[in-house]
Amino acid sequence: MSTLTDPPTGSFRLSMLLNDTRYRSMTLQVIAAIVLATLLFYLYSNLAANLRAAGLNISFDFLGSSAGYDINQTLIEYDSQSSNLRAAVVGILNTLLVAVLACVTATVFGVIAGVLRLSNNWLVRKLMAAYVEIFRNIPVLIWIIIIFTIMTAVLPGARAYLGDDPERDMLGGVIALTNRGIYVPSPFFTSGFGGGEGSGLNWLIVLAVLAGSFFATRFITHSADAKQEATGVRPKTGLLNLAVWFVPLVVLALVLGLSWDLPDPLANRFNLRGGLQIGAPLIALWFALSIYTGAFIAENVRAGIQAVSKGQTEAASALGIRPRRVMSLVVLPQALRVIIPPLISQYLNITKNSSLAIAVGYADITATLGGITLNQTGRAIECVLLLMLFYLVISLVISAVMNVYNSSMKLKER
């Protein structure tokens, strides 16, 4: 009996391209490539024809020319004479600023609400469920506008705080809530390097000291772990850690001459002077993104905690571990594995949703490069392409960093 698996030996026929599984995928891919190339060529030729008709060309020269508009909240030096490129960089930094701030606060809100949704207390549970449902089901744009309106329509003007006998007192005498934004004291150094306020070197030193404290506490924890492994007794590290964090900071503050620049109600008759002004758009965007995304994170946290099987809690209790330690030593580390992947995508969402800044006039990258620069120069294609490129890079970087973290947290199976 001859085998049936011998390939047919006849000559090649054209119909085999579609009917023979050996060639079919090749044929389909060639067709797909041709269709794709035709489509791209069609779009490109349309683009070229349209640009010719409008007398335009693709060029990124406009980035070097003067922007000609002011930005009220900047992290780096900027004025209306600066280039469009610098305006875009200001926008990028503002986007990153609000994204980082919102990620931190959204996580805090989300974890609190998610844990409270599992509380034994019926009322608290229901309140948190209401919070989650209300904030998840209403568009974030509406939340941003509502909070911006609260800032601008309900809070008083800066004038209310001015003069010897102001209408309203500042919170604690140092924080002024106005419809333009919030004025808080800003720290500066009187006797550090450079002497003046603008010296960034002092802040670098502060950062370096903080990083040093961080590594020192890690070292203390590790040596405590080692000692516990060896002797079974864990040395007390709480006070030492506290000291490592605070003593260097206090010493540094004394050495550098830390001082606070307070909002001054008497310096000017029309506006508050001094202090750090956090603009209303930034606060509206920050707060709205935090509570909106916090509701989503709360659901992720709840699902993560519920995903840890009850047997784990019971096993820990059977070993005689106290309930609070069960949560921190057994449940949370396992829940974290479930929580982190959706958390990453929430952080990505915050970054992308920060582009709604344009609705309240916060100068992020979408508002500077995609808004004013685009309208002033008319370079629509270039601006939108750069904008997309920026968000694409940010998204890829965040997901890459978080994936590394995620894989380090993953269950190590042998």
Binding site: Q29, L123, T149, G370
Partner: protein, 432 residues
């Protein structure tokens, strides 16, 4: 029996003691409150704090809502009547009701048309959402897009009829040819539809009268909540088939197809919707032929559909990946080809798993339709921030308007998510 021990004990109980009610603090509402509200000291404190927060919220909003005025004609008049009392001025809603729903340019004598389209929407969606209804009703769903188009945009009735004829012709050819070969049916169907549309284009050009039954309304006159609903419904319906195709493409063993899908999905998911709307408003026109004028509504629909199809593709890919490999192998071993095994075995199961995810995307997309206000389309948010708050009568009525918008979106989105939970329970065929 009763006197068994009569000699040895003085008294023997002959009947059971009637069950006593539980002590007051071990049953009923008191026990419930002790367990759920005041279990520990910390818990009691939390309860009191929560009650206080609830009181603060209700005490400030309830009088404001119930003291609201509904019949004045401007904010100034409201303030005059209220005399400094804090209460809502809902008159803006009653006076601008039509603008909030239909936008400020849609002809007021034609409001009945989108109204009917909205009512028909429920009839069209009912057989899709509830499986118990007779399957024949799906014909209404298939007819709905054409009816709704004709009602909302008006114009010659020949246009939707010819479009429908194209789909019907394509489907007939497809069902004739598909018994032999899926590819032949698929491409034959597309070719037949295209032929009918080209012929139909000439027929419409030749026969359409200058005075159609329904006055045509241009797309730029659409607005209000109607615009949000239209964008949401259109884009979700269009993006589900596209999402399925992308998800299958991403799973494909053909590298070129796979990479096209991966690049498309990852690119779209990496950029915010706003940038895609910028593309629609300022950039997309460059990619159409110079003589074509594609209106903004269509451009926005294209971009939002691309956006949501990438997300839906990822959800469906999750569903495909969750299926056990045995299902794929079972399809192969039955001798089904790729199209058949996908249609009959894989997709029904994968889509069932993906339903909650797809509904989440749909809710998110519906909320995101408010972003079109940024590119100066007058949807609900655009109407509120633009024409209504800018008018001299209503400048400063923030909370009533924003609260109304929030309420509308909440009702729709919460309703959809409740439906999805119901559906999940209905479809749960695994045994627990």
């Amino acid at each position: 029996m009763s006197d068994t021990h009569a000699q040895s004990v003085a008294y023997v109980r002959e009947t059971a003691i009637p069950p006593a009610p539980a002590p007051v603090n071990a049953a009923g509402p008191v026990k419930w409150m002790r367990d759920n509200l005041f279990a520990t000291w910390a818990n009691a404190l939390l309860t009191v704090a929560a009650l206080y927060v609830l009181y603060l919220i209700l005490a400030s909003t309830l009088p404001w809502i119930f003291g609201g005025l509904w019949t004045t004609s401007s904010l100034a008049e409201c303030r005059e009547i209220l005399q400094g009392k804090s209460a809502a001025c809902f008159s803006v809603l009653s006076e601008r009701w039509n603008q909030l729903l239909f936008g400020f340019k849609y002809p007021s004598e034609l409001y009945w048309r989108p109204g009917i389209a909205f009512v028909l929407l429920f009839i069209a969606f009912a057989p899709v959402l509830f499986f118990d209804l007779p399957r024949k009703l799906l014909i209404l769903t298939a007819l709905y897009p054409f009816v709704a188009y004709w009602l909302i945009w008006g114009g010659s009735i020949l246009i939707p009829i010819m479009a429908l004829a194209g789909f019907v012709g394509g489907y007939v050819v497809y069902s004739k040819l598909v018994t032999r070969n899926f590819a032949a049916g698929f491409f034959g169907g597309i070719a037949a539809a295209a032929v009918i549309w080209i012929i139909g284009d000439y027929i419409v050009g030749a026969l359409a009268s200058d005075t159609p039954w329904l006055t045509p309304v241009p797309s730029r006159d659409l607005g209000g909540f109607m615009l949000n609903l239209m964008l949401g419904v259109t884009c979700v319906s269009l993006s589900i088939p596209l999402g399925i195709a992308l998800a299958l493409g991403r799973q494909s063993s053909m590298p070129l197809i796979k990479w096209i899908c991966v690049v498309f999905i990852e690119f779209i998911r990496g950029v915010p919707l706003i940038t895609l709307l910028f593309v629609a408003s300022v950039m997309l026109a460059y990619f159409f032929p110079p003589e074509a004028t594609v209106d903004l509504f269509l451009r926005v629909v294209i971009m939002i559909t691309m956006f949501s199809s990438a997300y839906i593709a990822e959800v469906i890919r999750g569903g495909l990946a969750a299926l056990p490999k045995g299902q794929y192998e079972a399809g192969d071993s039955l001798g089904l080809d790729y199209a058949q095994s996908m249609r009959l075995i894989i997709l029904p199961q994968a889509l069932k798993i993906s339903i909650p995810g797809i509904v989440n995307i749909a809710v998110g997309l519906f909320k995101d339709t408010t972003l079109v206000s940024v590119i100066s389309m007058f949807d609900l948010v655009g109407m509120i921030r633009g024409p209504i708050l800018a008018s001299t009568d209503w400048n400063g009525v923030y909370w009533e308007l924003l609260g109304f918008a929030a309420l509308l979106f909440f009702v729709v989105c919460y309703g959809i998510s409740q439906y999805s939970q119901w559906l999940e329970r209905r479809l749960a065929t695994d045994h627990r």
